[in-house]
């Protein structure tokens, strides 16, 4: 392949790769001792982010006679939230406070060889407390006292999904692809909350699976969830 063609293709290749694959690509290119396949959990746990990785490939002659002495895990998120810790294991659990849930953490793992940093890899992850949102025939009431609540559910494309707030309350509802914090759609908004947000599903989600964030204009709400078509 000509150098010019490679240079034109490289940005497209990198854009197509997730963060962890990008790290792996460059580390493989430059033969660093970075940990491989760093993976941070995406919303699987309410109070932590589980990070795991594989040992670096030290087969290159550059690393002959060397061995890994440990890893440094560091993280940061809006807030700001940040921290770091050392471990000799190939996994680490980042503690997450309730106030820092649903924030995207950038996680980096650095390999230490004989006391010096010899390469890093990273990923993003988040913690989330979720509840199942069930769609009963004729609707069902849900209540909570917090300022918002995240649900996991499946939505049928083309169906209407209604969230009728009780007691004269208003609010809005946000829809995210399951396993991500990518906002796909909203029914009403913080600027214009309504008493009965409705969304006609026109997104695929993750195989039709979604996170649904219900946000009342003031903390605490009872709402009736129902579907229609």
């Amino acid at each position: 392949m000509k150098a010019g063609t490679f240079a034109r293709l490289l940005p497209a290749i990198l854009l197509a790769l997730p963060l962890s694959s990008c790290y792996d690509f460059f580390n493989s290119l430059f033969e660093t001792a970075a940990p491989g396949s760093v993976s941070a959990s995406d919303g699987k746990y309410a109070n932590r982010i589980e990070v795991s990785w594989s040992e670096p490939d030290l087969s290159n002659e550059k690393w002959e006679g060397k061995s890994v002495t440990g890893y440094t895990v560091s993280w940061s998120a809006p807030g700001p939230v940040s921290g770091s810790d050392s471990t000799t294991s190939t996994s680490y659990s980042i503690p997450v406070l309730a106030a820092d849930r649903a924030k995207l953490y950038v996680v980096q793992v650095v390999t230490e060889i004989d006391g010096s940093d010899e390469g890093s890899s990273g990923d993003t992850g988040f913690a989330l407390e979720t509840f199942d949102l069930l769609w009963y025939d004729g609707g069902k009431d849900y209540s909570f006292t917090a300022s918002d609540r995240w649900y996991v559910t499946m939505l049928q494309k083309g169906f209407d999904y209604r969230f009728a707030f009780a007691d004269g309350k208003t609010g809005w509802v946000e829809f995210y692809e399951y396993g991500t914090l990518d906002l796909l759609a909203s029914a009403a908004s913080e600027a214009a909350p309504v008493s009965e947000p409705v969304w006609t599903c026109d997104e695929d989600g993750d195989w039709s699976k979604f996170y649904v964030r219900v946000v009342p204009a003031t903390a605490g709400a009872t709402f009736r969830a129902g579907y229609g078509f």
């Binding site: 199942d132 069930l134 025939d137 004729g138 499946m154 049928q156 083309g158 195989w207 039709s208 078509f229």
Partner: protein
């Protein structure tokens, strides 16, 4: 588009398998194999209209005896709510769904899948002594049909109730399968052919159904399979 991609992938996988098997089989006694097949819902159905795919893992025990484990993905069956207050109807074929859902088939999340699993023992009668690279194969063994609901049943209690109601009568449905086929061996490592698959629930239900349907029963309960396989 997805079906075209799947078909291309299957052709690619089969071509790769044939080349690999041909290389492995050079001068060796072939014992293991895999057949890919498509079957019709009933013996006289239009084969190009509605087929189900499957795979058969095979082991040749001796010159005439083979064992296989067959799996086929039989069908999607659908459920739908009659109104936002229920009740849920189904399972039905997509052709029986209300017309208001017509455009949603590719995205429909309320369904169940039907699967067929059959461990079989085979008698292979070679016709090579008559100068033809052919063999007749006779197979028999237990057969299991099972149904798996889509994940959406977890989030729609009305759908879950409808599925449970259906499952009361179905669950894992055991039966017996009998096979009669003709196998063509164009090369040492390749098998092509067709089979008639006949499944019965039990001897008593078979006797009773034959009484009701007569010879038409063989068509209603039978399937024609076309297979292509490799041996290593």
């Amino acid at each position: 588009m997805k079906r075209r991609m799947l078909a291309t992938l299957l052709i690619f996988v089969f071509s790769a398998a044939v080349s690999t098997a041909a290389a492995f089989a050079q001068g060796r006694d072939v014992r293991f194999g895999v057949d890919f097949f498509v079957g019709t819902p009933s013996a006289s159905s239009d084969i190009f209209r509605a087929v189900f795919p499957g795979v058969s893992l095979r082991y040749r025990h001796s010159g005439r005896i083979e064992f296989s484990l067959d799996y086929a993905f039989m069908d999607f069956e659908y459920y739908y709510p009659e109104s936002p207050s229920g009740p849920w109807m189904g399972p039905v074929d997509w052709s029986s769904m209300p017309s208001r859902f017509d455009k949603l088939r590719g995205d429909w999340i309320f369904y169940q899948t039907k699967h067929f699993i059959a461990p079989q023992v085979w008698y292979i009668a070679s016709l090579e002594r008559y100068g033809q690279p052919l063999a007749i194969r006779l197979g028999a063994g237990p057969a299991f049909s099972l149904v798996i609901p889509s994940e959406s049943a977890k989030f729609y209690p009305g759908l879950a109730d409808a599925y449970e109601q259906f499952k009361k009568d179905f669950d894992i449905h055991p039966g017996w399968s009998f096979r009669l086929g003709l196998e063509y061996k164009p090369w040492r490592a390749v098998r092509l052919g067709a089979e008639y698959l006949f499944v019965i629930d039990s001897v008593t239900s078979f006797a009773s159904d034959i009484g009701v349907w007569g010879t038409e029963y063989l068509d209603r309960s039978g399937n024609v399979l076309i297979f292509a396989g490799v041996r290593i």
